[in-house]
């Protein structure tokens, strides 16, 4: 069990305030409010279609909110200040805010036109302005962390799914983000590769102070990785509690039903 982070003193890293997101008539998130403290690990669980992944995509600015605001590190994702006025965020502002946020995708989303090295140094060089040497040093260090030192000049397409996902994790970390979003990162992997990737994430969780938001169906991982677990259903938070409480004595019937269904499957 990780030590619970202090939520009282620091400014929250992530603030959702009255967030509404709908696709057409389908309301995915309705009036969502929550905060995440710096360094906190929060896992989002719930049935598919409950809006978990949408929350991560909103944070990565891959989607736009219909109503409400999201702040990351004190900065609003959808609007910016221009001459004292609140105007919709332009692309440059978005990129500036995004630099603090990293995301790992279910399908890895590595760039097949680059080697592993290219994937790892592209953004540090072009976005953060690191020199080739600095970016390479950082890439080598991260590949060692994810256990793929020998693969730096491989094409990502020649790696196994588990290896590709490790590279994707290293790529996100190469930007030194304050916030890391993990979107069902083991769902596309062969069962025998899942444990290794989860062990890596536990290691990263223990050795860094990155704020991590995680969508997963791995309840064992959610239990020992998270400081807090949020149960979602139909775009609302049903229950929000430390894993020790939520997994052993869930307060809500909906949570009990969901956990029974998920745990039965295993």
């Amino acid at each position: 069990m990780p030590p619970s982070s202090s939520t009282t003193t620091a400014e929250p890293m992530i603030v959702f305030d009255g967030v509404v997101k709908q696709f057409g008539d389908n309301v995915v998130l309705s009036e969502l409010d929550f905060t995440v403290a710096p360094g906190e690990h929060v896992t989002l669980i719930g049935p598919s279609g409950s809006g978990k992944t949408t929350i991560l995509r909103l944070l990565m600015t891959l989607e736009k909110v219909n109503r409400g605001t999201i702040h990351v590190g004190g900065k609003c994702l959808s609007h910016m200040d221009k001459g004292g006025k609140r105007v919709p965020a332009d692309d440059k502002y978005c990129r500036e805010v995004r630099k603090r946020i990293g995301m790992v995708f279910q399908q890895f989303n590595l760039f097949p036109n680059m080697t592993v090295r290219g994937n790892l140094i592209e953004a540090p060089c072009r976005v953060l302005g690191l020199s080739k040497e600095e970016a390479n040093a950082r890439a080598e260090e991260l590949l060692e962390l994810v256990g793929l030192s020998g693969k730096i000049d491989e094409h990502p397409t020649r790696l196994s799914g588990g290896q590709q996902q490790r590279v994707a994790i290293a790529r996100a970390l190469a930007m030194r983000p304050d916030v890391l979003l993990l979107d069902e990162v083991t769902s596309a992997l062969d069962p025998e590769l899942v444990a290794g990737v989860l062990a890596l994430l536990r290691d990263i969780g223990e050795t860094t102070d990155i704020t991590i938001l995680c969508v997963t169906h791995e309840m064992g991982f959610a239990r020992d990785f998270s400081h807090r677990v949020m149960m979602f259903d139909r775009g609302k938070v049903v229950e929000d509690a430390p894993p020790s409480e939520l997994f052993t004595q869930p307060r809500e019937q909906r949570t009990r039903d969901f956990l029974r269904a998920v745990l039965d499957r295993h």
Partner: protein
């Protein structure tokens, strides 16, 4: 029957430089207009998209020969400036095939999975960096086979330059050989076809090589059939699909 063959071949080959220059120049202009037009068709700005759409429809939807006459005969009347015939030809070939190429580029860019854009956004790459570093290199792989078709069509279209007095292969045959060696008309036109065929095969060889390089670059091994064919055409070192 073959007595005049050497004369026929040599007269036709006198037109080869013009045909090759028109083809290479036309291809260069086609590539530039294809990428410019194709990316403009995908622009976020409506006016840019509209402009590109007008260009594509205008040049794709009208006769290439009429376009050639416009640039060579009508434009001088309007602006009082006469282009050198060969360059007028290159201009029309490029403008016309660039309109088709723009659609090839647009389609190929759109075929790159959305996940690649999202991966690039998550790394804070700018829109230009996303396109140049991530999307286009992957799209190029998809563009090469249709561009091969397009370039061969362009090569064959160079024959219309004979209408505006460019002494290329077709004009050499029709204007120089037919009046003088009329009895060898079959031979003249067989040799003429063979010259275009050889040039077309050369274009295909180059494009296959590029296809293979591009497939290796994105970590896709070309199929064994494609590999054999490239090796048959010679000149390709056995790279083993670029396993590095």
């Amino acid at each position: 029957m073959f007595d005049n063959l050497p004369r026929i071949v040599s007269v036709l080959l006198e037109g080869l430089p013009e045909t090759v220059i028109a083809t290479v120049g036309g291809i260069a202009l086609t590539i530039a207009l294809s990428f410019g037009g194709g990316l403009a068709l995908l622009s976020g700005t409506r006016a840019v998209r509209l402009l590109a759409r007008v260009y594509v429809e205008a040049f794709r939807g009208t006769s290439e020969v009429v376009q050639l006459f416009w640039i060579y005969f009508v434009l001088p009347v309007l602006i009082g400036f006469q282009l050198v015939p060969l360059w007028a030809g290159v201009l029309v070939l490029g403008l016309n095939h660039g309109a088709y190429g723009a659609e090839i580029v647009r389609g190929a860019v759109q075929s790159v999975p959305k996940a690649q854009y999202e991966g690039a956004i998550a790394l804070s790459l700018s829109p230009a960096q996303r396109m140049r570093r991530v999307i286009l290199p992957q799209a190029v792989v998809e563009m090469l086979p249709p561009f091969n078709n397009l370039f061969i069509q362009l090569l064959k279209s160079t024959a219309i330059l004979s209408f505006i007095t460019v002494p290329e292969v077709t004009r050499q045959g029709v204007q120089v050989l037919v009046p003088n060696f009329g009895s060898d008309i079959v031979l003249i036109f067989v040799v003429m076809l063979l010259i275009y065929l050889v040039l077309a095969v050369l274009i295909t060889a180059v494009m296959r090589l590029l296809e293979r390089l591009a497939a290796t670059k994105v970590g896709r091994r070309p199929s064994s059939v494609a590999r054999e064919r490239v090796d048959d055409l010679g000149g390709v070192a056995a790279g083993g699909g670029g396993a590095s």
